[in-house]
Symmetry: C2
């Protein structure tokens, strides 16, 4: 570590809807002279207001929060404050969460069971612009590379799957989407292929497992 880093502490903002977690994070970084915690926010809206007003080097961002969620906040910060590195810190590692956050422009993605020291190293790395991933998240991304875009549901397919999960028959779904029943069947067959299942019930189950449904 160079003396320059010590002279210019990394300015942090903590975004999480759980007060206890914010306390814990602040405690991790306030004791270290290499960091300055500029402030905290409990949701995306607060976070944006705080960061656009006071700036930041690195933001520790939770994803699932009441009101504006983390993904939306990240996307917004990409446009209004592109120099700010966003490090996602969340409990969930589903495909939908991970991919959405990275596409939105997150610099890294860590799970909340990350040990303190690793968290500190990750924030330093993010400040340098390096990508930081929890092992399980990294594995998820590698799998995504090996298994290309083929098994990602299209927007329309996801709509159909949601309706099916809600109890719609093919006919119901067709009526609700103003298309023919045949098209619903086609979408469903594609869904089965992509999710590697054989019927609507297990498609719904797989949808929940992958975080496509909630």
């Amino acid at each position: 570590m160079t003396s320059a880093e010590v002279n210019t502490p990394i300015r942090l903002v903590i975004v999480d809807d759980h007060p206890v977690v914010r306390d814990g994070l602040r405690g991790v970084f306030t004791g270290d002279p290499g960091f300055t915690v500029l402030g905290e926010a409990a949701d995306g809206t607060e976070a944006i207001a705080l960061i656009e007003h006071r700036g930041a080097d690195v933001v520790l961002m939770d994803l699932r929060m009441p009101g504006m969620g983390g993904v939306e906040a990240i996307a917004r910060l990409r446009r209004t404050a592109p120099g700010v590195r966003v490090l996602v810190l969340t409990t969930y590692d589903t495909d939908a969460d991970v991919l959405a956050a990275i596409e939105a422009g997150a610099t890294g993605y860590l799970l909340k069971d990350t040990p303190r020291e690793e968290l500190v190293r990750a924030v330093r790395a993010a400040h340098r612009g390096d990508s930081v991933l929890s092992p399980s998240v990294a594995g998820r991304l590698m799998g995504r590379v090996r298994e290309p875009v083929r098994d990602v549901l299209s927007h329309r397919e996801l709509e159909v799957l949601r309706l099916v999960a809600d109890g719609a028959s093919n006919r119901d779904a067709a009526a609700r989407l103003f298309i023919s029943e045949a098209t619903i069947k086609t979408h469903l067959l594609h869904i089965y292929g992509k999710l590697k299942v054989r019927d609507r019930a297990s498609a719904v189950a797989e949808g929940y497992k992958r975080g496509l449904l909630s």
Copy 2:
């Protein structure tokens, strides 16, 4: 607050698999002379060893942890250390989690978005033996009282639902459970009635929503 309470601080144990959360919780209570944090644990096994060895007045317990989960740990503590009050502190408020924890013998059930001061009050209340519930958890329990045991799936029904979620046809499920296809259909009809759905796909969805499947 009486002077007696100040003289005999409440002995706390913190159980959570996230280091950051443990930090936050410890920070909340170590500054207050009314509490002493005896120790921390990252899963149920560690928690039991710690508490059976060093004792405790109140345990702050997460539910979903690697290895032994919180529910099992609570049940175990009921038998080996019945004087210890267990206060569940978790992110999740699904029916399955809440009911399982309370049945196991938890004194209270709080969500992690609880503010610090409320958390402190809750621990004091739990120490006195009072029940403490987050508002949304309380609502869930009230609903349970109004809507009796009628819509709780039996063990067998849950088995069938799991198989269906895994893609089993009625015939498959029958073969795997060594019973007739007719019985599977009967179970499914009961499941539909209890979950208030009309087909297997939405039954699976409802199963996930209620935390019956994972």
